[in-house]
């Protein structure tokens, strides 16, 4: 495990980044619970700071109702998951970042000893249009099964290492849009969770199935990470914007998003067009992890994971509830042909520590 002394300056840099983010006023109140909600029971107000991808979930009137039925009024403010570390969370009951690494940091900072609950999660996936997916499959970079498939990360990283272009892939010449360097568009790893998790997965594969931990590991993987990010030019700041561009037909042929975004789109009954969902054979889950700061917060965290109605609503928003439940797989038959319900053939890469990940991101952005 690296420490501040093995990675000099990393903590300090992360600290500066966070301080600056905070000065910019990253924390935003977006979702106010309905305090006036008439529930007939005395309600406990729970103040949370959450990752922005969960804002729609907590704003959903059905979620507000389900929480009220259990005696809770939630007031949620959004913040970048990595920015929560720099917040003063006095007066908050829960911090709810979108992955484990920042949650672990927060638990350490606030002396939270208990096991952190992870009510729901969502794996990172790559969305592609059919043309692009078929060309990848024809060239051994992916396997396809109707509207979904598997992206072979080893092969993809080899292609990136060699600066492979679409023109060099068989069958790409049929499609005018498939030219230029082959790459997955991600969000900015320095500021956005999904971009950072992309580096976590890619560095794990690049290091031969090991978590990048030491200075030497970072030095070895950094050049490839630099390539993955550098070719992209300006990056979107949120997966939300990246996914919307993709749906509108603009942007790169391959875009990294959360599975929950695709599932929510399918769940809305919106036409997905010729969308293909590629599951990287090694990916990282966005583990929405509750860091309880008070007793009320702890109880709410448990409720989110155990209450059948809240689990059902999480599924509606595209999240996978923890545990052996079948809710995700059984939600909407049409989703089935796009989603890999059981995540078969998908390996989970462990995420490096915050310090290592920050350093990888910094070097990748160069």
């Amino acid at each position: 495990m690296p420490s501040a002394s093995t990675l000099p300056g990393v903590r300090r840099i992360a600290g500066i980044v966070l301080a600056v983010l905070l000065l910019g006023g990253v924390v935003v109140a977006v979702v106010a619970g309905r305090e006036e909600q008439d529930t007939g029971t005395a309600t406990k107000t729970v103040r949370m700071v959450i990752g922005s991808e969960k804002a729609e979930f907590f704003a959903d009137p059905d979620v507000v109702k389900a929480l009220a039925a259990k005696g809770y009024t939630v007031k949620a403010e959004t913040s970048g998951s990595w920015a929560m570390e720099g917040l003063d969370l006095k007066g908050y009951d829960v911090a709810f970042p979108s992955s484990q690494a920042p949650a672990a940091e927060l638990a350490k900072k606030y002396g939270v000893k208990q096991t952190l609950t992870r009510p729901f999660y969502s794996p990172l996936v790559v969305v592609a249009h059919r043309n692009a997916a078929e060309v990848l499959a024809a060239n051994g970079l992916a396997t396809l099964d109707e509207h979904r498939g598997t992206l072979k990360m080893d092969a993809y990283l080899d292609a990136a290492r060699d600066d492979r272009t679409w023109q060099q892939l068989r069958g790409a010449e049929k499609y005018g849009e498939l030219t230029g360097t082959l790459y997955i568009a991600s969000t900015d790893p320095e500021t956005s969770n999904s971009g950072a998790l992309y580096l976590a997965a890619a560095s794990y594969v690049a290091a031969g199935g090991r978590v990048v931990a030491s200075d030497a590991d970072v030095a070895r993987t950094a050049p490839l990470m630099r390539k993955l990010i550098g070719v992209q030019g300006a990056q979107q700041s949120s997966t939300d914007a990246a996914f919307r561009d993709f749906v509108s037909g603009a942007g790169n042929p391959l875009v990294l998003v959360y599975e929950s975004q695709v599932a929510a789109l399918l769940g809305d009954g919106q036409s997905p067009g010729d969308l293909v969902v590629l599951y990287p054979d090694t990916t990282v889950n966005s583990d929405h992890t509750v860091v309880p700061l008070t007793e009320n917060g702890r109880a709410l965290g448990e409720l989110l994971g155990s209450d059948p109605r809240l689990r059902e609503l999480a599924v509606r928003h595209g999240f996978r509830p923890q545990g052996a439940g079948t809710e995700f797989a059984s939600a909407g038959a049409d989703r089935g042909t796009y989603l890999n319900q059981r995540l078969s053939g998908v390996r989970q890469a462990p995420v490096p520590t915050s310090a290592v990940l920050h350093e990888l991101a910094r070097r990748a952005r160069g």
Partner: protein, 532 residues
């Protein structure tokens, strides 16, 4: 352009001095001016006004001026009114980065946030952003020219366009990349397309492509600070073959064959962005506005009325928008590349400008007005580009002096110092001989050099009181031959000048009127840069 973002040889101090006036100069409120409507004068500066509940003061790209129908519909549905203040992307990013949007604007709505993301201090001011519609850069070519070139619109690449331009078979107009997002995106598209870069542009790519880009930009016959005036100038000239702009702008004309180059484009995705400096209620209104804009009904209205592409999968693009995909050319990932490209465009790639400043220094300018003119001109010197030819022609009862300076790349300071020295020497006396002086400006410019953007700026604070009259000038202009008639006059309303008189001059010569009466003279000079 924004001094703050890419001071070229300009000092940081100068850059800062200018930054403070940057945005307001280009900002114009919708009620007063519509950039898409070239008939109206440009007001500088604009002021977004006081906050009004239910009204969102939006700092917006000028390309959004065609959205009024959509905004009216959204207002009927949600009660939320959009009050736009139009500006160039670079100026907007400066304003945000310097924290000057606080209290003035409730939301930001640019054609694209790509450039903004390269400036972390500006990006931090954005809380959330949601793309609302999209339009790629394209080239609109006269159908006759397409036939002569033997082009199949679906197969045309940037190299084909380049070949036609360098072969002398294609000329075009585009907006100024520093003033207008469409010009900026066009520049990125062209540079990416012609450099052969396979991924995001680097400094090395730009350097490698410079000779080729130089040739390409020789074909640029028209420049403009806004898409609206560009279209007007294009119609007036008649001998320009094509326009480079967003697909939506070109499609709206209906008389051009619109080609999205096969090897890639830069797409504007119009993200409506909420600001960290605003309160929860405002952000909630922005969220409601965003949601309303993304409903299928409004998305259909957007695509049908503006020819932009919808961003929800359930709405098909308007008839006439071809659905074939294009590669998205990545936007540069660093400010040094983006700024370097803009810099190269201004100082090396584009045709240099050649301008005569016809400056009223009659008796009525004495005192404060003359001081303001001197300040404005002095500040303007930081804006002049390499290779630019600047002639100062102060007048009273007659032209007092004619002094020409060239900003030479090997020693730009000498030219700029000359302009500043001449500015200091200006003194106010005599009557106001507007038309006689204008005629001398045309004579001075003589035969037009096709390798420059040639224009006249006329600043006057009163009516014509000496020398030739308006009819004389009409006759003089009618007798001009050939390309001399392509020289536009950009008059500036200032002090007690006669609006009808100046409007007539702008209309006659194909120029555009700028209004500095309520704003600053610096602002007007600055705004005109986009047209020179």
């Amino acid at each position: 352009m924004t001094r703050g973002t890419r001071p070229r040889r300009r000092t940081a101090a100068l850059a800062l001095a200018f930054a403070s006036v940057a945005v307001l100069l280009t900002a114009c409120t919708a009620e007063e001016q519509t950039p898409g409507d070239p008939g109206k004068p440009v007001q500088t500066p604009g002021d977004p006004g006081e906050p009004v509940p239910g009204t969102l003061r939006v700092l917006a790209s000028s390309e959004l001026a065609d959205m009024t129908t959509v905004w009216a519909q959204v207002e009927r549905e949600t009660g939320i009114k959009v009050r736009p203040t139009y500006t160039g992307t670079l100026d907007a990013v400066d304003l945000l980065a310097e924290g000057r949007a606080k209290g003035k604007f409730d939301a930001l709505w640019l054609s694209s946030n790509d450039y903004l993301r390269l400036r972390p201090e500006a990006a931090r001011q954005i809380v959330s952003e949601t793309p609302v519609m999209s339009s790629p850069v394209a080239i609109g070519v006269k159908p006759g020219t397409v036939r002569e070139l033997g082009w199949k619109p679906d197969d045309v690449t940037w190299s084909d366009i380049d070949e036609a331009v360098t072969g002398g078979k294609l000329t075009y107009g585009m907006t100024d990349p520093s003033r207008s997002n469409s010009g900026f995106s066009t520049l990125i598209s062209v540079a990416s397309g012609l450099s052969g870069a396979q991924s995001a542009l680097t400094d090395a790519d730009v350097e490698k492509a410079t000779p080729k880009l130089k040739e390409f930009f020789k074909g640029q016959q028209l420049t403009s600070g806004s898409s609206g005036w560009l279209a007007q100038a294009y119609d007036r000239r008649g001998d320009v073959d094509a326009l480079l702009n967003y697909e939506s702008v070109l499609k709206a004309r209906k008389d051009l064959t619109v080609i999205r180059p096969r090897d890639g484009v830069v797409t504007a995705d119009y993200p409506l962005s909420s600001l960290a400096s605003t309160g929860q209620e405002v952000r909630d209104d922005v969220r409601r506005l965003t949601e309303a804009l993304r409903t299928p009904t409004i998305q259909r209205l957007i695509t049908d009325s503006t020819m932009r592409r919808p961003v929800v999968a359930s709405v098909a693009p308007a008839a006439g928008l071809d659905s074939g995909r294009r590669r998205e050319l990545p936007f540069p990932g660093s400010r040094s590349v983006a700024d370097g490209l803009l810099d190269a465009y201004d100082n090396e790639l584009r045709r240099p400008s050649r301008t005569v400043y016809v400056l009223d220094t009659s008796g009525s300018m004495k005192g404060d007005r003359l001081d303001r003119l001197k300040t404005a001109l002095t500040e303007l010197t930081s804006e002049f580009r390499d290779r630019e030819e600047v002639t100062l022609m102060p007048f009273g009862s007659e032209v007092k002096s004619v002094r020409t300076h060239v900003v030479r790349p090997e020693d730009p300071r000498a030219g700029l110092d000359g302009i500043r020295a001449d500015t200091r020497r200006l003194s106010a006396s005599g009557d106001t001989a507007i038309y006689t002086s204008l005629q001398e400006a045309y004579e001075r410019l003589g035969a037009v050099d096709r390798d420059t953007f040639t224009s006249v700026v006329l600043m006057t604070d009163g009516e014509n009181t000496a020398g030739a009259g308006p009819e004389d000038f009409d006759g003089f202009y009618a007798r001009l031959t050939g390309h001399q008639r392509d020289i536009p006059v950009f008059p500036i309303l200032f002090g007690d000048s006669d609006r009808a008189e100046l409007e007539h001059i702008a209309d006659l010569t194909g120029g555009r009127l700028f209004d500095a009466r309520r704003g600053s003279l610096d602002g007007a000079f600055e705004e005109i840069r986009g047209y020179q």
